[in-house]
Amino acid sequence: MNGSPGQVRAAATILTTAGEIGMTSSDAIDGLDVETWEGSAADGFRDRRQKLSAEVDHHGTDLMRAGLTLERYAGEMEACDTEIAAARTAVVQGWDAWRANPIDVTALTLIAKSMNDLSVAAHKREQFAIHAADQLYALIASDSTNLPGLTWPPAGWPPAPSLPTVPIPGGLDGTSPYDPLDVSQGSIGDCYLLASLMALMQTDEGDQLLRDNLRWDPDRGGYWVTLHVDGKEVVYFVDRAQQNGALENGDPGIVSIFENAVNQHLQFNDLNDGGWPADALELLTGKDTKVYEDRTLLGWDWDDIRDDVRDGDQLVAATREGKKEGMWPVEAQRPGPDGTMQTVNVDIVGSHAYTIVSVEKNGDVVLMNPWGRDNGADGGGPIRISEDDFTRIFHQIASTGDGK
């Protein structure tokens, strides 16, 4: 595979070393004073010193974060490379076994499984690189607009990270119905997060988990939100919602609070630039997530997926890139005004995440689009599509279950 974990680590070391210098220098600046100096000039000096120290500390912290991002990516590369090497060996062993005995079905199964493992590991490796790059971009997103690729949005437009915020009503943790049908995604590219929140909202256990991770603080006029990062609880304070962000029944709600907390955690560019439902579910629940893929030749593990649905686990599916103007036209079924199932032609949005409501005995899958009510693709609410269409359009399912 292209790329060298050693070289990535070397870059990481340069960045973290520079970060340590920055953070040490910030402390040094804090300690510099002229004790006998008083008056307005002295006040001006102390104000500037404080700002400078904060700037140097911010820079040092970002250098450190960039270094740690690359350090983590180097480890992920190594892990993927190990998986890739093992899969390659298994493919060769499979071919050898098949050549020795062309009617050996287990050899063909081994080849198919190993080729799929190979493709999954290579895909995962690339996703890790994309994630690392997004985190790096997020660190410098509010910097000079002269940088190539960062002259976005066009000159004179408000930069995304400074998008305005709007107030959130108080006490929603107790009063919200936690109804996934109320949710609608706004202009932020965080379908993976909202589809995951909707998946949680549709079960009592998920509702409770969201309630447990949310606390209205009347004294401070905001919410304490608990997210789960690498097995540890991280708490964010949220008193505003992103303007043009997610809504519930047209107003900021529970999902807006979680959206703001994840925005603080990921920083705006990383939140807005798409993501994986598995990561969002882990961030929200703190539990390991199982990822099902549409595997080459082997397809989906439908039995395991059905078991997860039956057990009340939360499942979120991701679509492939849309074929027609970013969309997948499909025939679906949904309840009509008289309650009977009706066939409608809808669009499934490409490169998008959907909440899985259920998987029927005949293989049909019932889904919900986080775009919500009155959206332009399917109008909102549950839609039911065939297993064939699901397989054609979706490539991954993240589940909080274990497939058992």
Partner: protein, 100 residues
Amino acid sequence: MDYADMSKTADAFRAVATDLGPARLSGLPKGAGSYGYAYLAGAVDQVVSAFNERHDAVVEGTKGVGTTIDSCRLAYQAADAIAEANLGKLLGRLFGVGPR
């Protein structure tokens, strides 16, 4: 006010600026050959360039605080000197001493 203290603090800011020097990024591996993917290599390039712009700004800012302290000290010393000269003139007028 202790002018020697002000000088010392101004020098200390310049020393911090010097200490920050090695935090300017250089020698990072480049290209998709190192990072595996052009997308990530591009991100590293942009981050290095943005971080070095920030670095130059904070180093200049740190030196600048030292220079500002020096300027204040010189202004205070000049004001003292003027005040001292004026006091001398006043005493001369009152007591008839000094240059005529």
